[in-house]
Symmetry: C2
Subunit: 148 residues, 2 copies
DNA sequence: ACGTATAGTTAGTTTTATGAAACTAACTAA
DNA sequence: TTAGTTAGTTTCATAAAACTAACTATACGT
């Protein structure tokens, strides 16, 4: 099987499997109604906000390829529920920054536990040496992509 | 960095990067309006249908953890646009099977090209040996997960 | 043959996501 | 100071996705 095919297959299998895993995690978590009553899109926003330092509305619009108005609405919804905070730039009063609140950080941490479960699922296939190698390569790939 | 952290980071980085990559692919593809005027959810349905042989409505509802009525509506929408076909079981006339039409198969193939681009992005980080190792391990993981 | 269970559909509703257009406030350059 | 731009918001409209409840048609057990 060619390299590309392996990757495409892996993308399909792993993303299906992860969705399933996250769904189970959500079901198992207590108070999940309150915490997880967020759409996938809203979770994407929280992640994107966590990954950068204080993005602006326009940056988020750029990242997701949507209109600024869409971001305004989405962020305001997260604001109402206390997951994020907004604050103005001092040098340019038009600009609005967004960051996670403590509650938002906490939520994402709980969500990460689902990722951990999935990570376990992946790792239980491999022996100790393979695990090290896999982790090393994954890390290399990840770092490279982050750097663009 | 611990194994789990590497994986969680990789999930975040890779899924962000892939979303971005698929968006670009979509923009670059001609006739994308007609072909890709599908939501992410609808694409998930097409993938799920491709991965199995002739799932029923109830099976799809189980897979996605939604009501059967939701699946009926989603599948009918795909049916109207000619991406899937429905046909009844011969042994139980209540049961409806779903499969991809030729047009649906074609669509997914085009979408796979986006995955290929992403695969390229991943692979360009690694040298020949690393690539082989990475592919081998990924294949092992994937096969194991598929087998449940 | 009758009653119940199952597979799927239909109707109606709610929530979320999105875009377009009109708007305010703030900044920039001439 | 005036004209134009930029950042963000608000309002309005629409579509997708999900649910519940009521329904049809089929299957099955007794």
């Amino acid at each position: 099987m060619a390299t590309k095919e392996v990757i495409v297959k892996a993308i399909n299998v792993l993303s299906d499997s992860m969705r399933e895993c996250m769904r189970k995690h959500k079901e198992q978590t207590p108070n999940s109604q309150e915490l997880f009553n967020l759409s996938i899109t809203q979770l994407h926003y929280l992640h994107a906000i966590r990954e950068r330092t204080n993005p602006t509305i326009s940056e988020l619009a750029e990242i997701f390829g949507v209109q600024r108005s869409t971001v305004t609405v989405a962020v305001n919804k997260l604001l109402q529920r206390g997951f994020v905070e907004k604050f103005s730039s001092q040098s340019d009063l038009r600009v609005v920054y967004v960051r996670l609140s403590e509650k938002g950080k906490h939520l994402i941490q709980i969500e990460d536990l689902g990722y951990y479960q999935f990570a376990d699922l992946i790792m239980e296939t491999l022996d100790e040496t393979e695990r090290k190698t896999f982790t090393f390569l994954l890390n290399k790939v990840t770092n490279n992509i982050t750097r663009n």
